[in-house]
Amino acid sequence: MPKIIGEPKKSFVTGNETAAWACLVAGAEMMFGYPITPQNEIMHYWTRLAPKYRRGFLQTEDELSAGFTVCGSVQVGKKAFTATAGPGNVLMQEPFGMAEAMRLPLLAIIQQRGGPSSGTVVYSQQEVTLTTYGGNGEGMRIVYSTATHQEIYDYIIKGFNTAWTYRFPVFILGDGYQAKMREPLEMYDPEDKGIEMVKPYPLIGFDGKIGAGREPQHLCNIYSLEEELYEVVIKVAAEYEAIQDKIVEYDEKYCDDADIIVVSHGIVSRAADDAVKILRAQGIKAGYFRPITLRPYPHKQLRAAIAKSGAKKLLIAESAYGQLDKLTKQEIFGETVKIENLFMPGVGIIDYDIINKVKSVL
């Protein structure tokens, strides 16, 4: 692939712009989308870049169509993606479910906004449940929750490779603050960092005659019998579980001797990081644990952090009313550590919010 960035360089960018450039350097050929704040500038920048680099864009009539056109595009071997938020993410759950059922290497960037319903256009972490377990399936998805522009860039590049390697739908879970805020980003071509992009490949339309020269390629999202479906779901679940250890990512700091471990994800983990450093400077033994993948969840690593620290408490901090909390509890079922909460649905969390909460529960 011809180089786009050339010499790696620092640029001053918004998160949405970061996403568009990352898709470009990752070799995405096509975006399908429908406008919704706060992801609009992903489309705006993609449509400015696409003609210059011979990439495609289609604005569909709604999010259902945007999701399904991605499903179609990846089947013919085109590296395609979409981006959405809030009610758009709700509508896309049907095509996302199809991607789970048919094992399609779909990539979707979610910039969370406030909910329920149209909520606000601004910010939240209220699409955790929807993005990890939305749809009428079993959540066979891979969800990266980013915290910085650099991570948006890096995980989109990685996410395309994850999708085309394992053929589970991949989600980059950002939020409205990350979408709109500005910070420096190192832009690079993946090959300059030793990253080999997985080449997309067609899933249908092979040469030869079915039955004579080859077996049928059966990408199926509907079955006639309960037993057929059962066999498929059990097989896919086993395949998903088998790759979990390779996919899981997390970040952990100061957990060796922590009395309390602050668990957060996404942009809130930046506040948690600052808060824990300040608390440590004040002599309070606070630790930091951040799942980077929300699906699969780094449950073994969090259990290990609890065990080695002997922490008396976890504090789960999120800009939602208990979505990370619920996810975490199901993943570490059986742990007896007391769990405290800082739920601030739809608004930002800063270091002082976490510091005050930690002091109030210790």
Binding site: S11, F12, V121, P184
Partner: protein, 223 residues
């Protein structure tokens, strides 16, 4: 019109996230500190409730008249319709200097057609803010292409920076690119902006381009 002979009307346009609001705020404060009467207008019709809302009260306390929605004035439009603050439409009827922050960027100075009397005003100056670390304006060719699409521009404001990672070298290299583009596009340069934190390490040749040391307010505005 009161104040007519020395009235300043400046409209800040430019690429999304180029620094339009930051330049507009700093310019309004500069004029206020010269003892002038100043009105700062948030003319973002795409995201009308976000740009200056969080800073509104602080800036008003510094003595600037702000035309922008406050929290208690915002209502549930979300992104469902572009809208114009009626006070912004008649902004030029205010006494004193008027600084217009033309938000969002895509439409450039075209948004000014919503402001009564703007294009007829002989005082109006349209200033395009350029940051050469922005990927869409990081080369001479890209800047020229961008300016070509932007419509009327009377002068450029050089605002090369990299947030907290800005160095004098980044500013100098970036501004050289913008200056070259300005020469080729035959557009004059109004001034260059330098973060006041770099005052001690960034020398400025006063014979060259006028420099303004600016304070960054927008990191407090979230969006």
């Amino acid at each position: 019109m009161v104040n007519r002979p020395s009235r300043i009307i400046e409209a800040y346009v430019g690429e999304y996230a180029s620094g339009k609001s930051e330049m507009a705020i700093n310019r309004a404060l500069e004029l206020k500190n010269q003892g002038r009467l100043v009105t700062l207008v948030d003319l973002d019709t795409v995201e009308p409730f976000y740009t200056l809302r969080i800073l509104k009260k602080d800036l008003e306390q510094l003595g600037i008249n702000i035309i922008s929605f406050a929290r208690e004035q915002s209502f549930g439009l979300g992104e469902t319709g572009a809208m114009l603050n009626p006070r912004a439409r008649w902004a030029l009827m205010n006494e004193g200097d008027i600084i217009l922050d033309i938000g969002y960027g895509v439409q450039g100075a075209k948004t000014l057609n919503l402001v009564e009397g703007a294009y007829e005003s002989p005082d109006l100056k349209i200033l395009a803010v350029i940051n050469a670390t922005r990927p869409m304006t990081d080369s001479v060719e890209k800047i020229k292409e961008y300016l070509n699409d932007l419509g009327r521009v009377d002068a450029l404001v050089l605002n090369t920076h990299l947030g907290n990672e800005t160095t004098p070298d980044i500013i100098k290299k970036g501004n050289n690119i913008i200056q070259e583009a300005a020469r080729e596009a035959l557009i004059p340069i109004a001034y260059m902006a330098i973060d006041e934190n770099l005052r001690d390490v960034m020398s400025v040749d006063k014979k060259n381009i006028p420099a303004k040391y600016i304070k960054r307010y927008m990191p407090g505005a979230i969006w």
